[in-house]
Structures are given as structure tokens and as C-alpha cells.
Symmetry: C2
Subunit: 341 residues, 2 copies
DNA sequence: CTGTTAGCGCTTTCAT
DNA sequence: ATGAAAGCGCTAACAG
């Protein structure tokens, strides 16, 4: 098993030319076989495929994309991947892209517009066929780059503004209003609010505005309101509800900025001996699995995140060039009655 | 505002040559300015940068990577992104790659080795500088491709086998044993186990094996064991614990395959009026935030997922070529005493 | 400090 | 059904 001194010590990776030589055809024929394009005789195809297997050839998509000016890549710019909400969206995107042969390339912003700009610039360098980003809050530079690129752009999660190209999501303002209506119909009158940072999570603010607008329309105002500076979390929800209940007027229902916060509120109730709905109503947003697993199912709003990702990706794939006018795809939401409000 | 008939109707995206022409230098000089490489006079740099801004030029990394044979891409193949555990790992990877100028490209397997093979093949086509994948269970074809590519390979999460190149993670078998030791030291003797699908989650099985091995060493065996077919979830944990407690011998402590399942168990206790630790011990794995937010902090094991991702990416970036021998980086774990066991 | 030349590995014409 | 030539947009290697 000793290597002769003329044995290639570090054989370079096989390229198209190697496969062509081995199968005795031209490079373009191999290319056609691999891409299933153009007419190829069965005999040739077989020979080429055999050579591909023998060499372990893996096509270089860098070169392929450059030559064909078609990367089959879709840039996806999300605030976070640790947040299950965006992870679900990503799953939906993946589900729609995979069968069409597209690959998502993800960038993360940490809820920061300048980071988003950096991510978009870096993704555009890969010549994606389209780009998906969350929300409408972009820097001017981001907008310019997107416009110049002329590729398709989906803005997702939110539909409460005019999109660059297509928006896919739900109206958070309208959801906020419906939460108010639902809780009013349940007999609640003294509303409290427990939320997290608005600067980064603009959609939470829209829901809050919808909520308070509808309350105002009924001549009501919040009796208690508390917002923490950082991101939402179960722990924060728990502690913040405790703070709210320790001082001032006692609400008969508390609306949380999302399910994470609301589940924390639930935990506080457990620890404090309060029975949700009986002693105090709790209402979330998103419809996460954890809420449904609680001893009392959390009352919340289902936000159809998977669907948002899927429909956004499908819309982009269906029409590769930017349409003349903008469009909005409303994925809706559903009030999940639950048992806590 | 009417467009003359000789107005360029669809100006193509600017390329290096356009910037070069506009700034009156050669393409390579522009390239050097953009990449901050080689000596450039301040005057030239300024002129070039000006032209870049004016044209809105965005470098084409497809072409750059092809020409330099260096993609600055790192393939990341994970079982799931919806699972917070892997999302945390991904954050760690991102944290280490970003400052070094590398871009992660993610593929998802859904806990399936054939899907992993497909993902690896597809990522390899982008000529990544390295690849990160979860665990040691790969198909033969995956191993062959990885070997042929000669790029660096990090296998993460687990260190209970011999890696292809470098493994980064913790010993799940050893963690299982330590869980047994800890619970024995707390006085528990009648152990129950509630778990999820092993075929997909090999590491859960390793923990189980460590647990039962250590129990056997003390002359003990599980008094109850139940595994569901599907993936772990809070709901599944809740229902499965209920099932276990409804029949047969009553354990004094239940070890869950992970925190998701354990939190579900906790919820069952709440609903059934059982007080954790007092009536029955509950023990999880991972150290998720949710466990710490429960009215009684969940007893569990911290698995340092962010660190796993970070160290894996750092190891790859630090040494771009495959070393002669394999290495193992142990990120360890810590028993989190909590209040439920 | 700047430029010239020659490709990277593939796909697009356009022939045959 | 197959191939030859040209070139995608960029960078390495060598001048100068």
C-alpha cells in the first residue's frame, strides 16, 4: 500500500473537465446531463453519470451562478433566530423554497436597522434572486440598495404600511383592536398592559396602539402599564406583572406584549396564589405551543408565522421579476380563547 | 419627465469595470481599495471610494470567491432551527464567524441522515471554507464527500465518539451518569424516565444510557419508563408524565429527556395538585430560560450551547487547513440544582 | 504604488 | 444530439 513517488499526493477536486475527459464527451454535455437540460442520448447520459459517480464530482455553484447569472439564492434578513417566532417563519420560507430549488441565506440583525443595512449589503453581494426582510423600518441606504438591485423584495410580519414590493403578514394594529373587543365582550373593564422594548419590536407597539385606541373608543383607558427596556422573556413577564400588581390600581385583565411575557405572568400568578381568569385575566400574543401546554390554556392570538414565511417565499418564486405595483398578502390571525381570559 | 428614446431603460448593475472607468484607474486597483489589500495612495483610494458611492457599486462575491478560490462561507448543518437549542448554537457560530469575515450558510436536516447528506452535498457546492454539523451519525456518502472536500469539519454537541476532524460539545453519557449521582445523593431511589424519540435524538439516548448505567452500578433499575415516538414538546411531557403516574409503581423522581419535556411534567404536577420535589422530583436537561422562570426553578443540566457554537467556529477559523489528527473540545456542563429535585 | 495578463469553473450562444 | 468559442466579474501573479 506504499504510494509510488509519482502518485498525486493532493489530487485537486475534480471539475467538469475531469468528468468530461473520463466520459469522453465535451464539458457542455456533462453540464447538460447534470442540469437535466437539453436533449441527451441515454447512452451518453449513462456514461457521464458513471464518470460523475467515479470521480465524486460536486458541481461548483459559485462558477455556475456566475456564468448563468442566476444564483438560486434567496436572502433572508431576520431580527433573531433565537426567537421561535422567526424560526417558524424561516421554516415556512424553507418549505416553499426547497421544492423550487432555491437556497435561503440568512442574515441576522438583532433588531437593529444599521445591522440590517449591513446584512442586506452583504447578502446582495451574493446576487440573490430575491430578498425577504422583516418589517418596514429600514435605513435610507437599505432602501437605495434594494431599489438599485431590482430584485424582488418581500417585507414580512407586518402589513400596516406601504411595501417596497410585496408585504406578507398581519395587521398588528387590527389585532390589538380585536384583543380589546374580545376582552370587553368577556366583561373586563380595568385593563393593564405589560410589555417589552418597543424601539426594537415595532409590531408590539402597533398592537398596543390598536388596543388602546379601541379602549378609548369605549371611553376606557389603561389602569396600569409597565414596559421593560429589554427584549421579552418569561422571566421579565413574571417580574413585571409582580411589579404591576404590587402598586396602584389592580387591573382585572392584563394584556401582555406576547406569549413569552404572558407565560411569565402566569407563573407569577401560580407563585402568588392567583387563579388566572378568576382573579385576573391574562392575554398574550402569538399562540406558542407553551401557552397551550399550561395547566390553563393561555388566551392569545394565533399569528400564523409558518404561513407568513411560506406565502412570502412562494410569492417571490412565482414571479422572479419585480412587478410594477406593490401588493399585500394578509395571512390573518385568530383569537385563541384559551382559559386565562 | 418624459424619457428620451435613447435613455437607458434598464441600466445594468455597475461592475468593477464601471467603477474603474469612472475613477480613472485599473480594475485591480479598485479591487484592492475595496478589499483593503496592498498599498494604495490616499488620493487614489479617495477617488475610488467616491466612484463606488456614486455608482452604488456592490461587489459580486460570486465572482470574487471563484477567482480567489476562497468563499469565506462556512456551511452549518443542523437538525432544526425551531429548536432553541440549535438556535443558540447558531448564535454562537455567528458570533465567532462574523468578526473573522465569514458567513454561515445553514442547511436543515429534520433529524434525518439522508437529509443531512443532501444538505452537505448542496452546501459543498458553494465551496465553503469549512463545515459544521451536529453529531457523529452520518451516511457513508456524507463521510466520503467530507473526506474528499478536504475542508475542515466540526462535529458538534457530542464528544462521545471519534470525530472526522474536531468535535466540540459535551459527553452526554457522562452527563447522564452525573444526573444519576446527583439524584442519588439527594436521596431519590425510585427513578422514572420520560423521553422522546431516540432514533432522531441520539444524544438523549446517550444520556439515558449514562443514567441507567450509573443506577445499575448502585444496584438500581428504573421503576417506570415511557418514551413517545415523536419529538420532545411541553405538551408531550405533560401527557406522558400523566400516563406514567397513572399506572404501575410510583417513582419518587422522574428524569426527562430534556427541559421541554420536564416543563410539561411540571405542568402536569400543577394540574394534578402534586408539589414538585415534595411529592415527586423532576429533572430536565439543557438549562433553558423557561425552566428558571417556573414558580419552582427546574432542576436541570446547563449544556452551554452558545459556547459550543462559538468554540467550534473559532477552532475552524483559527486553522483553515485540516490538521493531521483529530481533536476534542469539551465544553462541559453544570448541574443546576433548582427546586424541583 | 499601479497595471497587465491570465485564468477561476461553469454556462450561454451559435454551429453542426 | 453534441460541440467550440466566448465570457460571467473578479483576483493572483507577476511586472514595472
Amino acid at each position: 500500500m506504499s504510494a509510488g513517488r509519482d502518485a498525486p499526493p493532493q489530487r485537486a477536486l475534480p471539475v467538469l473537465a475531469d468528468v468530461a475527459r473520463l466520459s469522453g464527451v465535451s464539458e457542455i454535455t456533462v453540464s447538460r446531463v447534470i442540469r437535466n437540460k437539453g436533449p441527451i442520448s441515454d447512452k451518453t447520459r449513462e456514461r457521464v453519470l458513471h464518470a460523475v459517480a467515479e470521480t465524486g464530482y460536486v458541481p461548483n455553484r459559485l462558477a455556475g451562478a456566475l456564468a448563468s447569472a442566476d444564483s438560486m439564492l434567496v436572502g433572508v434578513v431576520l431580527p433573531s433566530v433565537t426567537n421561535i417566532v422567526f424560526a417558524d417563519v424561516l421554516r415556512g420560507i424553507h418549505e416553499a423554497l426547497a421544492p423550487a430549488g432555491y437556497q435561503p441565506v440568512v442574515g441576522v440583525t438583532g433588531y437593529d436597522a444599521d445591522e440590517e443595512e449591513r446584512a442586506v449589503r452583504s447578502l446582495l453581494a451574493w446576487q440573490p434572486a430575491a430578498i425577504i426582510l422583516a418589517g418596514f423600518e429600514h435605513t435610507e441606504a437599505t432602501r437605495r440598495m434594494l431599489a438599485a438591485s431590482r430584485i424582488r423584495v418581500a417585507e414580512i410580519m407586518d402589513i400596516d404600511a406601504t411595501p417596497i414590493d410585496v408585504a406578507v403578514g398581519l395587521s398588528h394594529r387590527s389585532a390589538g383592536r380585536d384583543i380589546a373587543r374580545y376582552l370587553l365582550s368577556r366583561g373586563y373593564r380595568r385593563f393593564g398592559y405589560v410589555g417589552h422594548d418597543w424601539d426594537s419590536d415595532h409590531r408590539a407597539r402597533l398592537r398596543f396602539e390598536g388596543l388602546t385606541e379601541e379602549l378609548a373608543a369605549q371611553g376606557l383607558a389603561l389602569v396600569a402599564e409597565r414596559r421593560i427596556a429589554g427584549p421579552s422573556s418569561t422571566l421579565a413577564g413574571r417580574e413585571t406583572l409582580a411589579g404591576v400588581l404590587a402598586t396602584g390600581e389592580r387591573p382585572d385583565v392584563v394584556v401582555f406584549s406576547n406569549d413569552d411575557m404572558a407565560v411569565g405572568g402566569y407563573f407569577h400568578c401560580l407563585a402568588a396564589g392567583l387563579v388566572p381568569r378568576h382573579d385576573i385575566g391574562l392575554f398574550g400574543f402569538n399562540g406558542l405551543e407553551i401557552g397551550a401546554a399550561l395547566p390553563l390554556r393561555l388566551s392569545t392570538v394565533r399569528s400564523n408565522r409558518f404561513l407568513i414565511g411560506k406565502l412570502a417565499a412562494e410569492a417571490l418564486v412565482a414571479r422572479p421579476d419585480r412587478p410594477a405595483d406593490t401588493a399585500i398578502i394578509n395571512t390573518g390571525y385568530e383569537i385563541e380563547a384559551g382559559e386565562t381570559a
